[in-house]
């Protein structure tokens, strides 16, 4: 039996500005990350010094020589032209939702709509952050929201600074896609 050839898979991290996309990739990347940050001049939206304006890039090595290529998008909607470009060739998306934002459901809707091609194939996992300081909406509330939209997508409360949390979400997404592949085969 021939050994399985190592494969590479592209996965996106998206979500609002400040949701933790760069932090999440940084937490798990086995290589020095590529970052494209610029000074943030929109402190009213989120008070941090820099913001991603191109994309973040990192890699996670898996057993058997397989590699996950992780791309983080800019969060702001004015960069939506880039969302489409970066999404080409990706197999799935992790949507990071910031629970401290005024309307996290509206935020989630924006990314569900813009990455609907991944929603259609079940290639989306929703990771809700800052739940330790902002407990509501709960994970159950998100599930109810998705159900109301006729969507069945996994939702997890995560701390993207913790590599085990990010790896868990990646693992779930990867397994979902494998199951989806097996079912369609």
């Amino acid at each position: 039996m021939m050994p399985e050839q190592p494969q590479e898979h592209k996965i996106l991290f998206t979500g609002t500005m400040g949701a933790g996309k760069t932090t999440a990739i940084s937490a798990v990347s086995g290589i020095k990350m590529v970052k494209t940050e610029a000074a943030n001049t929109d402190r009213a939206l989120f008070n941090k010094a820099t913001t991603t304006v191109g994309f973040d890039y990192g890699e996670v090595g898996l057993d058997g020589g397989h590699v996950l290529r992780l791309y983080g998008t800019p969060g702001q909607e004015r960069f939506s032209f880039l969302w489409k470009i970066v999404a080409r060739g990706a197999i799935g998306v992790i949507i990071l939702v910031d629970n401290s934002r005024p309307d996290p459901f509206q935020d989630l809707a924006l990314y569900l709509d813009n990455f609907k091609q991944f929603v259609a194939i079940g290639g989306v996992v929703i990771a809700v952050g800052r739940t330790e300081s902002h407990q509501w909406p709960s994970v159950s509330d998100y599930c109810a929201y998705l159900e109301a939209r006729d969507l069945m997508l996994p939702v997890f409360a995560v701390d993207v600074r913790q590599s085990e949390d990010v790896l868990m979400v990646l693992d779930v997404l990867f397994n979902m896609l494998e199951v989806s592949d097996a079912e369609s085969a």
Partner: protein
Amino acid sequence: MTYKNSAQLRQDYAQMFSEELQKLTTSGDGVLAAQVCTSDGFEVAVSGRHAESHRRLAAMVSSLQALGAAVVEETEIGTYRNLIIEATEGKCIMMAVPGTGGDILLTVIASPQMVFGSFLLVCRNTCQAISARLLGVAA
């Protein structure tokens, strides 16, 4: 010199930027349009054709500039200076305004007839003029 607020920047300097951009686009050299934006993708001043699409262009320039700088870092070829795009119906140069820490970007569109050397020269001159006026204002 750094700028923390794009709205404040627009309020304080848009008029001055516009004057410099208009000199470029009305010079008759072949410059079709010009824009100043922040490195995080907010337009500050525009002049010339397609002014209505500059909001989206500012975000694109921001991304391209950052990606260009990432390529320079990855390939270890020094310090990022500018990005040039050549197309069938025109050409485009994007460069950081000196003295702004890369926070303010100039984008200029020219006709295909404009020679690259003179295009680069007028862009650099405009960058220097904007920089000098900014530093003069800030001093």
